[in-house]
């Protein structure tokens, strides 16, 4: 895969590039601020862009804003955002648009998962950091149907929101795929969401639900 990295810390940028190259990917460009990043993406072809949310010049959320602009210009491009903090402000909105991933920076230390997420986002899926998902889940109030889920169903819901496939969920929870499917249908039914074959649309539906609950 052809990857472009946008990250202002040289140490982290080089480390990440090193990991990706070692895993067989091609790092075609590296940028240290939002402007350079957009230029690079617009001039060089790539499959996925890894962006730090916090970048110069404003050092607030330049990365996130750049991501939105890039998305509008390159609809098919995969974008993975890396953040230092758990926050739901940028994450949920962006992830809901598909082909977006949002991970905490230290998530890259789980190398296997990180590379899987990369593939998923590059192929149009969505990935949401488990910490963020758990924050979302806990932010809902007493009226939320989420409280009616069993513990197992909540775990399945969390993994769904993270963007994992049924197979991925089965592997994570040490269940059979059939059990996972049953749980998934229960969850979707209890939340009042329609069944969907498409993993991505499933994630979107769950995320939309969680988002609306988090807002109230």
């Amino acid at each position: 895969m052809r990857v472009i990295i946008g990250e202002d810390s040289a140490l982290f940028r080089e480390g990440l590039a090193g990991l990706l190259v070692d895993a067989g990917h091609e790092v075609v460009a590296k940028a240290a601020d939002a402007t350079a990043l957009e230029e690079a993406v617009n001039s060089v072809a790539c499959d996925i862009v890894i962006i730090d949310v916090r970048m110069p010049p404003d050092l607030v959320d330049d990365g996130a804003r750049a991501a939105r602009r890039l998305r509008m210009r390159h609809p098919g491009l995969g974008i993975l955002l890396l953040s230092q903090h758990i926050e739901t402000r940028h994450s949920v909105e962006l992830v809901a648009t598909g082909g977006f991933g949002y991970l905490l920076k230290d998530r890259v230390l789980d190398v296997g998962d990180f590379l899987d997420s990369l593939d998923q986002v590059a192929s149009g899926g969505s990935v949401l950091d488990p910490e963020v998902v758990s924050r979302l889940l806990s932010a809902s109030d007493g009226n939320d149907p989420v409280t009616r889920l069993t513990t197992r169903e909540r775990e399945v819901l969390a993994l769904m929101a993270q963007g994992r496939t049924n197979a991925g969920i089965a592997k994570q929870l040490w269940l059979t795929p059939r059990t996972v499917e049953t749980h998934v249908s229960n969850v979707m039914a209890k939340l009042g969401l329609g069944e969907s074959e498409d993993d991505h649309r499933r994630v979107l539906a769950v995320l939309a639900h969680l988002r609306s609950q988090a807002r109230t």
């Binding site: 990440l16 090193g18 230092q84 926050e87 920076k105 230390l109 809902s140 007493g142």
Partner: protein, 667 residues
């Protein structure tokens, strides 16, 4: 030259002629007695003459002219008196006629008529009204009549003029009764006219609203009443002492006081506060009269009880009674002030009342400004306080006063008054209206007492406020510093650790399949790195939680899913400063933790709302209560709240739940 000036000049010439005559007569008489009498008379004439010319030159020509003519009278009277005396002691030296012998003794009337004319035409040189034209005519008529009656008196001429041939037109002795009646009538009319002239002042005052004229009339009223009173004194003296000796006092007083008050009233009516002068004069007069009365009663009483004269005893008794009555003097002065100078009396009483209330704890010294405004009727009045060790003036709330409207203290203008304790200025009154300054003269001592108290209190308030502000600044700076520190730590160190982990992972991938121990080592190392990163994140969170980026509401929302006990969270805030939001966040977190751990509650409610310039944080539970606000468990919350200059209030009655209310300023 104007008519008035010409008249004044004529008066001066006449006076000069008389002075020459008097000098001549004194030279002839060659005795100290006549010289002394002449000196007194000339002095009494010189004052009105000189002052009259002052006024004429200053522009008050009519009154000035009247005053100069008044100055002629003592010289004429002195001349005629001395003529008679010389004629009596050195017969044959001077020319004498019966007419003169009869008429001259009546010339004393002029001593009353001249001042009366002046008072009648005061202060503008005109009569009080068109209906008053009869007054000067009657006055002059009476004078003329009395002189004529003197000339035509049927009595024999007194020694040593018994040999002088009688005036041909003198009354026959059979008509002595008619003469006497006429004389008495004229004298009574004279007294009446003198009362009328004094009353003219009252009439004028009733009719005018011009404050300058009113002040002038008040000045004249000090002296105007001496006219009829002196005449009465003369007759009383005749009654008591068989001679006109007492009248000398009255005449001298009258002849000194009238020109002087005229001059002051016309030219310098605002040089002294006439009301204060009147009050003082009235007090002195009343006190002296009272002392005299006591002496008279003592004399009569000792005379009646003990028989004969005992002057020493009388003096002792009088002295004793006066001493006893001395405290009444102050009461008397205040009562007179209330009558004559009501405004000042009101201010004095208001200040005394305020002082008494302040000492009793019923009023605050800061009410000084309001009290002065009401008592003086000066809504623009402001009290500016001088605080120790600071320049400028401060108002009652402890803020600096706008100095541009205040003039310099030295050479003060009419509308400001410095208040001093000793030589230190403690306050300044500004915005004084016309004549307010005069009212306050003499009362500054009372004002100073209250002002001193007030300014020290204000000093304390200001110092406290400054302390609060600097503490808030320090706290804000501290928070910004900590935040920056956390940010640097977090960003810098975390980046390094994650990068380190990445490098380790890359290295790990190059291990051979048999290197399981190294593999495990690296796994452990990366796990430690993960922990370190997580701890760094918590550290930064402890200083400023990252979740606050989404707002206080979303940051606190996860509390509702804290566990078996339901927690309701209700947050309605606009935009609050970051440090305040962080404090509120930690307060809520700790309070909820305490509730869940210790309270045994079935419901915990969190309520955060913004009220004007404060953020109100309420955490309540329905558990077993009995929490100790000063205990360890709440120390952290208390410290945070105090550091944020907030208010900490914990109510926790046993078995009735716990309620924490925290107010944080966020202005």
């Amino acid at each position: 030259m104007g008519r008035s000036r010409a008249a004044a000049l004529a008066a001066t010439v006449a006076a000069a002629a008389c002075v020459v005559l008097v000098a001549f007569l004194v030279a002839i008489a060659a005795s100290w007695g006549t010289a002394a009498y002449a000196a007194v008379a000339l002095a009494l004439g010189a004052a009105p003459l000189a002052l009259g010319w002052f006024l004429v030159r200053a522009g008050a020509t009519r009154v000035g002219t009247l005053l100069t003519w008044m100055g002629v009278v003592p010289t004429v009277v002195a001349a005629t008196d001395l003529w008679g005396e010389v004629a009596a002691t050195q017969p044959g030296r001077l020319w004498v006629t019966g007419l003169a012998v009869g008429a001259v003794p009546m010339l004393w009337v002029l001593l009353y008529a001249a001042p009366a004319m002046l008072v009648l035409h005061f202060p503008d040189g005109r009569l009080p009204g068109p209906g008053w034209r009869w007054a000067p005519r009657v006055l002059l008529g009476v004078v003329l009549l009395l002189v004529v009656l003197g000339a035509v008196s049927p009595d024999d001429y007194p020694a040593p003029f018994t040999a002088v041939p009688r005036f041909p037109l003198a009354f026959a002795p059979e008509l002595a009764w008619l003469h006497g009646t006429l004389a008495v009538l004229c004298l009574l009319t004279l007294l009446g006219m003198l009362v009328v002239t004094a009353a003219a002042l009252v009439v004028r005052r009733r009719r005018t609203t011009d404050p300058v004229v009113r002040a002038q009339l008040r000045w004249m009223s000090l002296a105007g009443w001496t006219l009829p009173l002196t005449l009465l004194l003369c007759w009383t003296s005749y009654l008591l002492l068989d001679g006109p000796d007492l009248v000398a006092i009255g005449l001298v007083l009258m002849w000194l006081a009238l020109p002087l008050t005229t001059w002051i009233a016309i030219l310098h009516h605002d040089l002294y506060d006439v009301d204060r002068v009147r009050t003082v004069a009235a007090t002195v007069t009343a006190a002296t009269s009272a002392a005299l009365l006591i002496w008279t009663i003592a004399t009569v009483a000792t005379g009646a009880l003990l028989g004969g004269e005992r002057p020493i005893l009388v003096a002792l008794v009088t002295a004793a009674l006066v001493l006893v009555a001395l405290p009444l003097r102050r009461r008397l002065a205040h009562a007179l002030e209330r009558r004559l100078y009501a405004r000042r009396a009101a201010v004095r009483e208001a200040l005394d009342a305020l002082l008494a209330d302040v000492q009793a704890g019923a009023a605050l010294p800061e009410q000084l400004e309001a009290v002065l405004r009401t008592a003086l009727g000066a809504p623009e009045l402001q009290v500016g306080y001088v605080l120790p060790d600071t320049a400028g003036l401060w108002d009652v709330a402890g803020w600096p006063m706008d100095e541009s409207s205040i003039g310099p203290e030295v050479g003060s203008s009419d509308d400001l008054l410095p208040i001093r304790v000793g030589t230190r200025e403690v306050a300044r009154l500004t915005g004084l209206g016309h004549a307010d300054r005069a009212v306050l003269v003499g009362l500054e001592g009372r004002v100073a007492l209250v002002a001193e108290l007030a300014r020290l209190r204000i000093g304390v308030t200001t110092a406290l406020r400054e302390t609060e502000e600097s503490r808030r600044r320090l706290q804000d700076v501290g928070y910004a510093e900590r935040r920056r520190l956390a940010q640097n730590l977090h960003d810098g160190a975390q980046q390094r650790l994650v990068s380190l982990g990445l490098n380790l992972r890359v290295a790990q991938r190059h291990l051979g399949p048999g290197d399981t121990s190294t593999n495990e080592l690296i796994d452990a190392a990366v796990a430690e790195l993960g922990t370190a990163v997580s701890e760094l994140r918590q550290l930064a969170h402890g200083i400023r939680p990252a979740c606050l980026d989404d707002g206080l509401g979303p940051a606190l929302a996860p509390l509702t899913q804290s566990g078996p006990v339901p927690v309701t969270v209700n947050v309605t805030v606009g935009s609050v400063p970051d440090s305040v939001a962080a404090t509120a966040y930690y307060v809520v977190m700790e309070a909820v933790t305490n509730a869940l751990k210790h309270a045994d509650a079935s419901l915990v409610t969190v309520h955060v709302e913004q009220r004007e310039d404060r953020l109100a944080v309420l955490v309540a539970d329905d558990g077993r209560g009995g929490a100790d606000a000063r205990g360890h468990g709440w120390a952290g919350v208390r410290d945070r709240v105090t550091a944020a200059s907030g208010v900490f209030d914990l109510t926790s009655p046993p078995k009735r739940g716990t309620r924490l209310e925290v107010l944080l300023p966020c202005g």
